[in-house]
Symmetry: C2
Subunit: 411 residues, 2 copies
């Protein structure tokens, strides 16, 4: 933050908004993008929670400093809205409470119920940029990175919901010739996560994988990898349409958790595949525990003798998402003592896995950019539209199969 | 089982019980203990669940085969009732339903509610011996173990609630001169578990430990080890009396989970000690999750910046007991993604830790048999008394501080 000059959109020297009459998106879009010498000024989406539980989303005017020798400046042309972005964007706020900010200009205000405030104590008062990953064109470069100028790149590192992003050359990947910004916008989070799941499973000695919310973009990538690499994958989805979608891309095991015989079908699939590891995007409720129970039932079915402590088969559940923020509940009586329920996060995982693994993952992403790792978007919106209450509600809904892309160049 | 000849007490050639008049304990005690040549015949406590959900506890007459070259026969003189024994003994049965078995002779019958039957499917129809550990005197030995004859030993391996136990010489530890059977009855489960906790914590890089149900015999041993080894231990108990008990043995951190400020006090103690690992005997309910939340709060308090995914401090909760069989519930919002909730079981742990560690643990137990690893018993009962409904209810209650010892030689 120290290296960027930040002023709120409504405190511009040349005021973009007077009083409370103009719709908030007008204020935001009235900020002029300026590219003079190496000084770039543009919009950046911010989220901030105050002591009273008001969460304000706003577009701030930001002037980007000159790039250091090893840095570049990228004009952002595409940035996906991932579930991991929403956690920061709206925090624990009540989405239905979204309304234009009091000054009618600076963005949207949402309400955070008071009992949820302690969980976000650490961010209160901080104006935080958002957007884990994106893609765009390099418009300026430090002296060690000049070869990148004019190049289209994929990026990771936060603050991507903005017109411009200053970033280390090492944190971008030049896209292959002909790849669009849309093609390159989501080459980090989901592609590395999907590969991370498979690598985690194999490294920890498992031979088949279970995945929930499996019809997501991430889930489809995971299925394609597992098919290519010959690893059995049990997909758990929540509708017949999602079953069809996964079948269409070649999935052998697809179970609808709403089916009456779900538990039995899951046990059967586990007996058949030997799955002892699961990656769960949902987190809340009982599904994770039900998966462990099904693994345990499958182990007991194949065990030769009764063990009062349950089977000796080690079962691992990784919770990597929070589609359901409710508490997690599991019944240990049905899972024995050979289990672990753990969090799984991409960046700590990559750090632990080491640079060689990360390189291998990135190489595969580029090789299979428009096949295995293609993301589908159901809607492309401008940066200002991200603050439209109706649009906000649509992308926050997190319906599997629905996926939004922000393109700051369209508004 | 193949090597032991088993007949039910009520099918003795010389019937011990006619009809339904005699109290069940009379039947059991009417079995004659016989020691002729090398053939020993005595009682063995058994538990069996049938398809209808009747759990029957009985004393069976068992004739022990001659010991193999590397085996010995021990007259059992003391065997503790550990929580881990109760899981097998009464399974998921309703303790208050205990009544003398239908034939009025063969023991006690308890009812297993039908919804709990699937969890014990694997043991239905099997007559299972009980008693993880015990101590007694070697009364016969195979040729490679003759040096043990007459020696008092501590043993582990199940089926200790019996008059006699045939066992491999390797599975016993000769007790020091002057040690009673009572001194040596519980030298495996609790002493090895307590040492296993400390070893696990240090091996996994933690510097302080949290323990629940901490006033138990196990908890007292753990506190003594931690004091001797200089490892901070936060004890969580459930009454002011238990706080006093732990203070009396030198505990610095003792928190009553029923106190109104428990959560804050726990967070403070974690900030002070840096505890990032907990061993939980309770399992059910929310306490385990509350401990992880307190660890997370402590991390966030000391963190320099906000991280949307929670702190980067890895937090480990090991569930090793089931004092509360209710489901486990935890709120991930308050614990971030750097956590693991896992089962911890002594025997798989020892196998993984290796023989050198196990040897070291056993050496320390013998060195500190009557100090660090002394167990206190509140009541000594005979084998037949274990089937008295009133006594059963007393030892099943699992009140911390209450501990029963079975001495088959007294009845």
């Amino acid at each position: 933050m120290t290296a960027r000059k930040v002023r709120a959109a409504n405190t511009l020297r040349r005021p973009a908004c007077f009083g409370g009459f103009a719709p908030h998106v007008r204020c935001a879009s009235s900020i002029t993008q300026r590219e003079t010498n190496m000084a770039f000024t543009g919009r950046e989406l911010r989220t901030k929670i105050d002591e009273e539980g008001n969460l304000v989303l706003s577009l701030e005017e930001v002037t980007i400093d000159d790039p250091a020798d090893d840095e570049i400046i990228v004009r952002v042309e595409a940035a996906p809205i991932n579930p991991s972005d929403l956690g920061l964007l709206i925090g624990p706020a009540d989405v239905t409470s979204a309304k234009p900010a009091n000054d009618g200009c600076s963005g949207l205000t949402l309400h955070v119920p008071s009992h949820r405030l302690p969980a976000v104590k650490g961010r209160i008062g901080q104006s935080l940029p958002i957007g884990n990953e994106g893609a765009g064109t390099v418009i300026a470069a430090g002296k060690d990175a000049v070869s990148l100028k004019g190049q289209r790149v994929g990026m990771i590192g936060g603050a991507m919901y903005a017109d411009y992003r200053r970033i280390k050359a090492n944190d971008v990947i030049p896209l292959p010739a002909g790849a669009s910004a849309k093609d390159g916008a989501a080459i980090f989070v989901n592609p590395l996560t999907a590969q991370g799941f498979v690598e985690t499973a194999l490294t920890e000695g498992h031979k088949a994988i279970i995945h929930t919310a499996a019809a997501s973009n991430l889930g489809q990538m995971l299925q394609k990898i597992c098919l290519a690499d010959g690893i059995p994958l049990i997909n758990i989805v929540r509708s017949p349409e999602q079953v069809e979608l996964m079948r269409a891309i070649g999935a052998k095991y697809v179970l609808n958790s709403k089916d009456a015989n779900f538990g039995e079908a899951l046990t059967d699939a586990i007996v058949e595949t030997g799955a002892t590891i699961a990656f769960d995007a949902i987190g809340g409720g009982t599904l994770g525990g039900e998966i462990l129970q099904a693994m345990e039932r499958a182990s007991v079915l194949t065990a030769s003798e009764y063990n009062r402590y349950g089977s000796m088969t080690f079962k691992q559940l990784y919770i990597y998402g929070m589609l359901d923020a409710a508490p997690t509940t599991f019944d240990r009586g049905g899972i024995g003592f050979q289990f672990s329920i753990s969090g799984w996060l991409l960046f700590p995982y990559l750090q632990k896995a080491g640079e060689a693994v990360a390189q291998r993952f990135r190489g595969r992403v580029l090789d299979e950019l428009t096949t295995t790792f293609a993301s589908k978007y159901t809607r492309v919106i401008g940066l200002a539209e991200a603050l439209d209450p109706e649009i906000l509600n649509a992308y926050v809904r997190k319906a599997t199969g629905e996926k939004f892309l922000i393109d700051p160049t369209i508004g």
